[in-house]
Amino acid sequence: MNIFESLKSALRNLMSNKMRSFLTMLGIIIGIASVIMITSIGAGSRAAITSEFDKLGVGLLTIQMKGSNDAKLRDFLTLDDVELIKKHPEVKNVTPYFEAWGASIKLKNPKEEKSGYIIGINEEYRFMVPPDLLYGRFIIESDCKAKSKVVVIDEVLAEKVFGRKDVVGETITVRLWRGNLKFTVIGVTKNSNAALESIMGAEMPSALYMPIQTVMDIYLVDYLDYIYVSVKDPEKIDQTAIELNKMLEMKHRNEDAYYIRSLMDEIEMINQVLGYITAFISFVAGISLFVGGIGVMNIMLVTVTERTREIGIRKSLGAKNKDIRKQFLIEAVILTVIGGIIGIIAGFLGGSLVGMLMDVTPKVSLFSILVTVGVSSLVGIIAGVYPANKAAKLDPIEALRYE
């Protein structure tokens, strides 16, 4: 019996039991659809995050002290280090970065406060992470030099404090560890927490951008959390990172004291985490595929029993054991492959729907389609082998007597 005849005969049998075939397929459809949906959303999110980072430019380095137990005071990063790094020929921009939590901003009603955090940066920050300014300007060199009490806030905070957005020139009061301090608003940006807030469903603390020198004066410190560096040639970023590390080690007379990560490393790390999450959820979805496979096997066993007499007739007419085995195996594989194809389509549609709600463009790769088709045929073969063998081994006389 050639493969074409087997296919025709299998399709005819499946079509004669449409409802049963469909319900059996449904298990596979749901399994495949959920896997496709999750992987496409996962791949879409990764692409979205990568492109978000791409906007910041690929040539960005983060320098941080390792801060191990035996870290010494002389290891801390300072503003002098910023000046030192500027001297490297590959460096385009450098900014110190200091973050302080626990700030409370007085609202319209002075008894109410909104929590926030202070970020100290210099005038080059705006070239490295371009702010979405609505009004006014960002921190410039003179603000830093004069240690001005100026601040850049976002529209949400402006709205909360003043009831409007264009508040350049106004004064806000921030309660810090050393009491209330007043700052002049020089710029208003778009809501910087929009993405996070839509996911978390809660209001996030507001960021207050200030000149680094101002912040250091307030907090009485002279060390930094990070130094951000942008390089001229992203191709040479790894070499530049090594050289900057050496410069810092020479200046601080230490070894192995700093992490220098490129943005690419961070993207890779986030992608890795997302990959794990996607893999885990896909695994859970894969369990439903497994359950679907059991459904196929179950129905194939029922079919074999129902068609015992047919098997006897076919054997009496000269069907070999392998012909019978092939017939049932092909039926199982057709069920799972068609189920798989419908599942891919359903998963793609479901992914697009969820993607629309999450504002992510789902990505279905050819690879994932090939893998799912492969997996569903494999499920069919595995689910079909046992029933098909059972059918093939039936004794023709017993089978012919079966009522």
Binding site: M1, N2, E5, R12, N13, S16, R309, E310, G312, I313, R314, K315, S316, L317, G318, A319, K320, N321, K322, D323, P396, I397, L400
Partner: protein, 235 residues
């Protein structure tokens, strides 16, 4: 054509052993038309199953066209069933979802024949049993006699050496039985060797030789003096 020597078949049912065939010797030559008779449990169906290569004897030899069938494996037996043997059953055993034509084509599918050849031969076989106007009907649209004629066409379509019929008229009224026996006689006239199990003496007398079984042994084996010819013309 068919030669069995010292054939024994024992069924084991728990601790009880039942000898279904005891030391059977039988020869059927080319062109014969043999009826096998006997009460149920006499061993006639067991012999048919062995002759039809659906079952194996416990001991003894079975030669089909000089080939020692008792030494063949499952696949080789399937091939013999496909090409050398045509089965006709009491219950017709047509596949209910296939048309008459497709049922007749089935043995040729397993023989690996091409589509066009299958169609031509199946139509010819259906024509031979007088069903050329029913080829696209499903079995449940056919009468008992018509179903059995489809089964005969299916049995003949690979031009087997021998036609084995197990109570072919058992489910038919007397008129249809008569028709079926007429077809068998016509086929036999054309040289087809037929072995048929029946328990009806009237039907058995349409054949040329009657072998009677009792308790797994052959008790009589004689030629029919004056077979009943369907259509009245006695031989």
């Amino acid at each position: 054509m068919i030669k069995v020597e010292s054939l024994n078949k024992i069924y084991e049912n728990g601790r009880i052993q039942v000898a279904a065939l005891k030391n059977i010797n039988l020869t059927v030559s080319q062109g014969e038309f043999v009826a096998i008779m006997g009460a149920s449990g006499s061993g006639k169906s067991t012999l048919m199953n062995i002759l039809g290569c659906l079952d194996r004897a416990n001991s003894g030899k079975y030669f089909l066209e000089q080939v020692d069938v008792s030494s063949l494996n499952d696949d080789e037996l399937a091939k013999i069933r496909n090409l050398k043997i045509g089965f006709v059953f009491q219950a017709f055993n047509l596949l209910p979802k296939l048309t008459a034509l497709e049922n007749v084509e089935l043995p040729m599918i397993y023989a690996g024949a091409k589509h066009k050849e299958r169609r031509e031969k199946a139509l010819a076989a259906l024509d031979k049993v007088g069903l050329s106007d029913r080829v696209l009907h499903l079995p449940n649209e056919l009468s008992g006699g018509q179903k059995q004629r489809v089964a005969i066409a299916r049995a003949l379509v690979n031009s087997p050496s021998i036609l084995l019929a197990d109570e072919p008229t058992g489910n038919l009224d007397s008129k249809s039985s008569e028709e079926i026996m007429g077809i068998f006689q016509k086929l036999n006239d054309e040289g087809v060797t037929i072995v048929m199990v029946t328990h009806e003496p009237e039907i058995a007398h349409h054949t040329k030789r009657i072998v009677t079984f009792k308790d797994g042994e052959i008790i009589t084996d004689k030629f029919v003096d004056n077979p009943i010819r369907v259509g009245g013309d006695a031989l």
